[in-house]
């Protein structure tokens, strides 16, 4: 704008000695400035359609009394004010109690799954850092659980956890004689452990993959210096490898946390629509509220609460880990 007026003033005060720039040139300038936006346009459109607009609609819906009667005409649904939130957070009602219970279950599930997956993945990656015979093959083999589609892995575990025909009870009761009666794994308190085991089995190879990639970025001179100082392999891992992996771990743990906390596939395939209360994760609880009870308003309110929680945890996590990283540097 300013440039245009300035150009206009210049033209008035002094007649241009040269002819105006050829239109081809200015057209190219527009293209140059516009090109990056043009390249981004498809991505932005799809992101808007599938992520951004639905999120806004979801927030809007959480303030509405939305039931299946209004599916085709959302705007006609009566307003609920904060009713849906009050409904979801009221710990004296059945819904509020269930939601809070799911929340704690999900927290426990996430801490265990992320912790174990990280531990196994990092441990295996560190143990496989030095070359040995068969390392390549073993690496490939370890990645199979991650490569399997989520539902086939969970279905296989569901079969293994069957009380009368599954491998787990055959192993524990018939082969190792640990139990007199075969326990139920997909009902009652054990279902929580069945869920954790299945999730860890699927998740740890991802940690392994990321840490393996991260290990390759650690400069070799560091190891050479440590070797000259006479540091053994354990000291080397503690004083060089783990600190060097910190930036990788910062992202890895966050990603694992978000995936696990939002996991729907594993419990849904393992238990179906009606999970045992001891393994009722938040995502299933919200799904149940929305699509089984057809209470879209409450489902949306719960989703928004979940989002707020995730944003807070992520922000706090980044704040703490960044500060600690800076303090070390």
């Amino acid at each position: 704008m300013a440039a245009a007026t300035e150009a206009a003033r210049a033209r008035v005060s002094a007649p241009p000695p040269t002819p105006p720039p050829p239109t081809r040139r200015s057209w190219e300038r527009v293209r140059r400035i516009g090109l990056p936006y043009l390249l981004l346009l498809p991505a932005v459109l799809f992101e808007l359609l599938v992520h951004v607009v639905p999120m806004l609609v979801g927030i809007f819906m959480s303030f509405k009394q939305l039931t299946e009667f209004f599916i085709r005409n959302c705007s006609a649904a009566p307003s609920a004010g904060l009713g849906n939130y009050r409904f979801a957070l009221d710990v004296n009602s059945a819904v509020g109690r269930n939601l809070l219970h799911s929340f704690w279950i999900t927290c426990g599930f996430t801490v265990l799954t992320v912790g174990l997956s990280w531990l196994i993945g990092t441990g295996a990656a560190l143990l496989m850092q030095d070359p040995f015979r068969g390392r390549r093959l073993l690496r490939t083999y370890f990645l199979i659980p991650y490569a399997l589609p989520a539902y086939t892995a969970a279905i296989t575990w569901e079969f293994m956890f069957q009380r009368d025909t599954g491998l787990v009870n055959t192993l524990l009761v018939h082969d190792l004689h640990l139990f007199k009666q075969p326990p139920f794994w997909l009902l009652g308190g054990n279902s929580f452990w069945a869920l954790v085991i299945t999730a860890v089995w699927r998740t740890w190879p991802f940690a392994f993959l990321v840490v393996t990639a991260g290990l390759q970025n650690i400069p070799g001179d560091l190891y050479e210096a440590a070797a000259i100082d006479g540091a053994g392999v354990w000291l080397r891992i503690r004083s060089i490898t783990l600190p060097q992996l910190r930036p990788v771990n910062q992202v890895l743990v966050l990603v694992l946390f978000l995936w696990t906390f939002n996991d729907f596939n594993t419990p849904y395939v393992l238990f179906g629509n009606v999970p045992p209360p001891q393994a009722n994760l938040l995502s299933l609880q919200i799904y149940d509220t929305s699509f089984q009870s057809w209470n879209f308003g409450s489902g949306s309110a719960m989703s928004v609460l979940l989002l707020v929680f995730l944003l807070l945890v992520t922000a706090a996590y980044l704040l703490v880990t960044n500060r600690r990283g800076n303090a070390d540097a």
């Binding site: 498809p42 599938v50 490939t140 293994m160 089995w201 070797a227 989002l307």
Partner: protein, 293 residues
């Protein structure tokens, strides 16, 4: 694998590991190997047992071997149909997603423009949102678009393609932008001198140098679409059902055909697992390049 290239040798810690480390390694990797092995063995061995044997309790060594489950899976449920649906949906969403991601990543990597940071942050942050959050509104939007314009998105393959391709865009753009950043600018300039425009240099120079990154992103997109359960369970009907949902249909009211379920699981896993394992060295290279950024 990276260990083959000569420059890697300097990354190798110079001393032979002590026995304590070697034994920890043997025991640790054996345990992890067994944990990985059990479900795979169950899948394979149960898929070649007759139904009575599977229902009688788990046996480590199958008493009777049969390939019947592999023939029966196609008639018990319309598995071929589900397979085709999954294949169409996953392929289309992968192709479109990769093309869109390449264009966006090129812009992010090679241009400085107002809004660049906003775009990167917004797109990446959508990756953290739980699917359950926009499942419901997206479902309603699709239903309303269908009611308003007649374009059926809910219950159609097109709806799932659009949904899935967006799921993987953030990761793909981030990964490819990191990859493009690692390609020297001099290559672009050389391409300009040869008379290529920006798009020409993208396709003739940058893309060929970024094949590992593109392959990584494509495999990731395909795997995501192939394995997705949540949206498939709400947004498909009988004619567009994908494998993720269809495999549940092997349970009838009286019987659960576990041998067929295991056979079908194996059949639907083999294509993606094979592709993933064949291309995993690209994946490690791609992740490494991405994490350098």
């Amino acid at each position: 694998m990276p260990d083959r290239s000569p420059s890697r040798s300097r990354h190798r810690p110079p001393m032979a590991p002590p026995p304590s480390f070697v034994w920890t390694r043997r025991i640790g990797l054996t345990l992890v190997g067994l944990l990985t092995f059990l479900p795979l063995y169950v899948m394979l061995s149960s898929s070649i047992k007759p139904l009575q044997d599977v229902q009688a309790g788990f046996e480590w060594i199958p008493a009777h071997l049969t390939l019947r489950p592999y023939a029966d899976i196609w008639s018990t449920v319309p598995l071929g149909h589900y397979f085709l649906n999954s294949l169409i949906i996953s392929s289309c969403s992968t192709v479109v997603s990769v093309v869109i991601a390449i264009l966006a990543a090129y812009a992010v990597s090679r241009y400085r423009f107002p809004g660049r940071r906003l775009f990167s942050v917004t797109v990446l942050s959508t990756q953290m949102f739980p699917g359950i959050l926009f499942l419901l509104p997206l479902f309603l939007i699709y239903v309303n678009i269908g009611a308003g314009t007649g374009v059926q998105l809910s219950g159609s393959r097109l709806g799932l393609v659009i949904t899935y391709l967006t799921f993987t865009l953030p990761f793909s753009i981030w990964m490819l932008a990191g990859y493009f950043d690692s390609i020297p600018r001099e290559l672009d300039e050389a391409a300009r001198v040869d008379g290529n425009g920006p798009i020409g240099s993208l396709f003739r120079i940058i893309l060929p140098a970024a094949v590992p990154g593109v392959v990584t992103v494509a495999v990731y997109s395909f795997m995501t679409a192939w394995g997705e359960v949540l949206f498939a369970s709400v947004m498909t009907d009988d004619s567009t059902r994908t494998l993720a949902v269809g495999l549940r249909n092997y349970a009838s009211q009286n019987d659960v055909y576990w041998n067929q379920i295991m056979a079908a699981s194996l059949v639907v896993s083999v294509p993606v697992v094979a592709a993933f394992l064949l291309l995993q060295r690209y994946l490690v290279a791609g992740l490494t390049a991405g994490s350098v950024k």
